[in-house]
């Protein structure tokens, strides 16, 4: 097995080619732009404009716009502004930390993208550095290259009736893409390498954190298989499973190939047959709807393929599903129907099934595939499915796949892009990377994660230090410590208090980072006691936009000190007969409003 990864990390800076802030929104924004895409040279380099035109015809891309974080650049209504130098400086730091060598002059490229995720129809990208390595427990893993590029738009929902919805706030956020060599030796090693690179990225303190801000793609190929790129792994922990599943998938495909060889099954040209007539009285809903709408049912026979389509590649995903994915990407169809499926689930009658078999001349050893759609669309989809079946006897496909919602199995997305989809972005001047810029980046280099961890262990427990090091909150933690907050309080709050509050059902996810900073600022000023931190967090979760000081006052959590505290202590003491238990009893009452040291001091003074 050969395995490499690609890590995409958003940088904490303004957008790459305009001066909008890199802020993601939860809502649908303040406006909408509707666009279509037109055929251009395909990702394979070959220009099949007619086919692309058919595919894109009638498709609409709807983009939500945001007054705060989108401008004419994101809506593709203005040429790019110059490259954001701050993002470049961060990317340079990352390159140096990965021992990679920056290029002399950055050339901005356009990478053709025809799924609507970029309003322009391409993604701006540039190769920033070449070579490098990262140390792991299983040896050095090579770095092939580091790119600085713009993030794409976030998809809101999948295609529905030819309409695809995207959010434009994400488009243009600076992103570094780190591609490793295929040096990883096993599935666990993939996870470790991704973690190592992730820690280095976080160590810069200049990368965005939170869901989606870092993504990892994996490339897998097995002996006799093909290089497959898998996109959309949600979390690091899932990587080993995804890799293992892909290895199995490729092995299964190799087994199918051997089986077909054994059977001497070989497909010639696709002979498409219109079988609509058979279904004139059908009970099968999908077919009924298609025929009523003027569509057709088209079928094709697969000689010697009986049972192949039903071969499971993943749990619940068969070779037939794979063919279906190809059909779906070639034309707007829901999928294919094939003879290795239980055809009763579509409500086809036995008569209908045997009539189809008869018409196609399907024997015991053969299989068939059908598509119901507008005739030309059905034919295009069927040709793609047939071609996939035919290819099962040859080399495995190099392709891009996406992780499915189960987090492990994958589906075909598109062919592996060729170098031809990249061409120069002529609207932006190349950027000379000078010796001075590199020296400047080197000066700012943060500590390597190992060094940082050792330092953390001096102020935090071993366990908490490790936790903090891997945490998304590392930057926030450092900021709080920088404000003079005790490291153990900051770490416990971020890594433990917040987690246990979430378990209790407190909506801590609604609290924005700057509010946590505000909370600790208030605490440092003596606004409330240490013990009240969880209480204030609870109040904040309920009213995430309120001022912390206001919440403290409202919740009666304002810290008591001086005369006020003395009076309160005195009042409590009066009702405590046993002076030995005085401290405990008073603290039980004033726990949230006073620091224990202060209370003890007062009681001692009185005694």
């Amino acid at each position: 097995m050969k395995c490499g990864i690609e890590i995409h990390q958003r940088l904490d800076s303004l957008k790459l080619f305009c001066r909008c802030p890199s802020v993601i929104h939860e809502d649908k924004g303040q406006g909408e732009v509707v666009r279509r895409l037109h055929p251009v040279a395909s990702e394979l380099g070959e220009v099949d404009i007619a086919a692309q035109f058919e595919y894109l015809k009638g498709k609409e891309y709807h983009y939500h716009t945001y007054d705060e974080s989108t401008c004419l650049m994101e809506t593709d209504e203005e040429p790019p502004h110059p490259l954001n130098n701050n993002a470049l400086a961060i990317a340079l730091e990352i390159a140096l930390m990965l021992n990679s060598k920056p290029v002399d002059e950055l050339q901005i490229m356009r990478k053709t993208v025809v799924d609507g995720s970029n309003t322009s129809g391409f993604q701006r990208t540039s190769l920033l550095a070449r070579g490098g390595f990262v140390e792991t427990s299983k040896g050095k893993v090579g770095i092939q290259g580091i790119c600085l590029e713009e993030e794409s738009s976030g998809i809101v929902s999948g295609e529905e009736a030819g309409k695809v919805y995207y959010k434009l706030d994400r488009l243009g956020i600076p992103l570094v893409e780190i591609a490793t060599a295929p040096d990883m030796v096993d599935a666990e090693h993939v996870k470790e390498t991704a973690e190592k690179i992730g820690a280095i990225l976080r160590a810069t303190g200049k990368v965005l954190r939170g869901i989606g801000t870092i993504r990892q793609d994996v490339n897998v190929s097995v002996e006799g298989g093909a290089r497959v790129e898998i996109k959309g792994a949600q979390e690091l922990a899932a990587l080993p499973k995804i890799v293992e599943a892909e290895v199995k998938r490729q092995e299964k495909l190799i087994a199918i190939r051997e089986e077909l060889k054994e059977r001497k099954a070989k497909l010639g040209d696709a002979k498409l047959v219109d079988v609509s007539g058979i279904f004139s009285k059908t009970q099968a809903k999908i077919v009924r709807k298609t025929l009523d709408g003027g569509g057709a049912v088209v079928a094709v026979k697969l000689n010697g393929y009986a049972g192949i389509l039903g071969t499971e590649l993943y749990p619940n995903r068969r070779f037939g599903t794979e063919m279906s994915d190809y059909a779906k990407s070639a034309a707007s169809v829901g999928g294919v129907i094939h003879s290795d499926e239980d055809l009763k689930k579509y409500s086809f009658s036995d008569e209908e099934t045997s009539a189809v078999k008869k018409k196609l001349g399907v024997s015991e050893s053969d299989a068939f595939v059908m598509v119901a759609a507008k005739k030309d669309i059905a034919e295009r989809a069927l040709i793609a499915a047939f071609a996939r079946a035919k290819d099962a006897t040859g080399n495995l496909h190099e392709e891009v796949r996406k992780v499915l919602p189960d987090g492990v199995s994958t589906a075909y997305m598109r062919p592996m892009p060729g170098a031809a989809r990249l061409y120069p972005e002529t609207d932006i001047a190349p950027v000379r990377i000078t010796k001075e810029m590199i020296a400047e980046a080197r000066k700012k280099l943060p500590e390597m994660p190992e060094v940082k961890l050792a330092k953390l262990k001096k102020t935090l427990s071993e366990e908490l230090a490790e936790k903090m090091m891997k945490s998304r909150n590392l930057q926030l933690f450092e900021k709080l410590v920088g404000m003079g907050i005790e490291p153990s309080l900051a770490a416990t709050t971020l890594e433990e208090t917040v987690v246990s509050l979430r378990r209790e059902g407190v909506a801590v996810e609604d609290i924005r980072e700057e509010k946590i900073v505000e909370l600790f600022g208030e605490f440092a000023k003596g606004g409330f006691a240490k013990a009240a931190v969880p209480e204030v967090l609870k109040l904040l979760a309920k009213k995430p936009k309120a001022k912390v000081s206001a919440l403290v006052a409202e919740g009666g959590l304002a810290k008591l000190s001086g005369k006020e505290l003395e009076a309160a202590v005195e009042k409590e003491l009066a009702s405590v007969p046993d002076k030995k238990k005085a401290v405990g009893a008073v603290m039980a009452k004033l726990r949230l409003r006073a620091d224990p040291e202060e209370v003890i001091g007062i009681i001692r003074k009185k005694a």
Partner: protein
């Protein structure tokens, strides 16, 4: 352009852009395709396309270049004819430059114009079934370089196509000066029997998001419509939903980059063309109806010695006087209702230019007024400095024309007469929709 040093080394190695080369630097060898140096960036950096498709700039200092292999010459596909479909109208497409119909060499990023009908139909499959197309490239230049002499060539070529029986003519044109050309053709092509539609693109044709194909498809629908006018067909909104057909004398580019940069000023567009539905919806009815029997009168005479000058605070009288040495006619884009500094109140700091204008007119140089506000109508009767201009003989009172249209018209009028009285009469008479009687209510 590479620096002389790099050019020399490339020459010695026998390498030209497109060839596969190797660059050895600090012991490291990089192989890739030599790219041309764009006009931007460091001329001392060699640009190489790596195998992964990325270009990188490599400082040439201490680098050694060797030729690996020469580029294969690109197979050129000869332009062929496209079979005519019976029953469809015949539309001629004339290429006047701009990037609407250019092809991209994705390897080196260079742009070439599409030159034949089959190339055109191959690039724009959406045109199929709308009409039979004939295509011809007149020039390949950016519209910023277009001069009045080009307008005359275009007018003659359009007339040829119409005489040959075209049911409509489409002009593919760069957007920068499309409004000027549209105005010029409006004056030159009198009694148009069929539509003449100008179309361009605000986004280059290499990208999937280009507005070129939608604009062109809508233009084709306009070209076979009943509206026998010179018009501009461009996006009506930022969305890819519809195009508007703007009157040639009333249209102006009002944004540097947006798709919907073109607007009708002081007028309504003739029609709206829905792209998805491929339907034309009329917004006005006062246009010349298509009638192939009507005889086109080509009148392309022009005097290009006309200047368009922006009036502004601090404008120098000496400058205005000097204009008379260069131009034979002047259009002033005046402030407000069509004003120039006259200083009727004798302010100490003000510097009037009215005397300089009077001097120009006295020399026989016609001076016309248009509103720099674009929207609205010249009225030289409301304020003292308006009246002063009018009394000085400035042309254009009550005209709601665009400054550019007024300039093009003055060129056209001066191509026919220099007699001041006739110039004034002709200028202030509506010829091609450039002056309207009523200021219609627009939203």
């Amino acid at each position: 352009m590479y620096s002389a040093k790099i050019d020399e080394a490339l020459g010695k190695a026998g390498a030209a852009p497109g060839d596969r080369i190797s660059v050895t630097k600090e012991g490291e060898r990089t192989e890739g395709i030599l790219m041309p140096r764009s006009s931007l960036g460091d001329r001392d950096c060699l640009v190489v396309k790596l195998n992964n498709g990325y270009n990188v700039g490599m400082d040439f200092a201490n680098a050694k270049v060797e030729l690996v292999s020469k580029a294969k010459p690109a197979a050129h596909k000869a332009g062929g004819e496209v079979a005519m479909e019976k029953g469809l109208p015949n539309i001629s497409i004339l290429g006047c430059g701009g990037t609407i119909a250019s092809k991209v060499d994705y390897k080196i990023g260079a742009v070439f114009p599409a030159t034949s009908p089959d190339e055109l139909l191959a690039s724009f499959p959406g045109l199929k079934g709308i009409a039979n197309f004939k295509a011809k490239v007149l020039f390949t230049l950016l519209s910023g370089d277009m001069a009045p002499a080009h307008w005359q060539v275009i007018a003659k070529e359009v007339a040829k196509e119409i005489e040959a029986g075209a049911d409509g003519v489409i002009l593919m044109h760069g957007t920068d000066t499309m409004g000027y050309t549209a105005a010029a053709l409006s004056f030159m092509l009198k009694d148009l029997p069929v539509p003449v539609v100008m179309v361009g693109a605000q986004r280059s044709s290499d990208r999937g998001s280009s507005d070129n194909s939608m604009n062109l498809v809508c233009a084709a629908i306009a070209a076979k419509s009943d509206i026998a006018e010179v018009m501009v067909c461009m996006h009506g909104s930022t969305n890819d939903d519809y195009c508007l057909l703007h009157p040639g004398t009333k249209v102006r580019k009002l944004h540097a980059s947006r798709r919907d940069a073109f607007k009708s000023v002081n007028a309504k567009p003739f029609a709206k063309v829905d792209y998805a539905a491929k339907k034309l919806e009329l917004l006005r009815n006062d246009f010349r109806k298509k009638d192939k029997k009507r005889k086109l009168a080509l009148d392309e005479k022009m005097n290009a010695n006309v200047g368009l000058i922006y009036v502004h605070p601090g404008m120098k009288p000496e400058f205005v006087k000097k204009l008379g040495e260069v131009y034979e006619g002047i259009v002033l884009a005046g402030t407000g209702l069509g004003h120039i500094p006259t200083n009727p109140h004798g302010d100490k700091l003000a510097k009037p230019v009215i005397d300089a204008v009077k001097e120009l007119i006295a020399k026989g140089i016609p001076v016309a007024m248009a509103p720099q506000t674009l929207y609205g109508r010249v009225n030289m009767n409301v304020y003292a400095y308006g009246i002063a201009g009018k009394e000085a003989g400035v042309i254009g009172d009550y005209c709601d024309w665009l400054p550019e249209t007024a300039m093009v018209k003055l060129m056209w009028v001066l191509g026919h007469t220099k007699e001041m009285k006739r110039v004034k009469e002709e200028m202030e008479r509506n010829v091609a929709g450039e002056i309207s009687d009523r200021s219609v209510l627009l939203e």
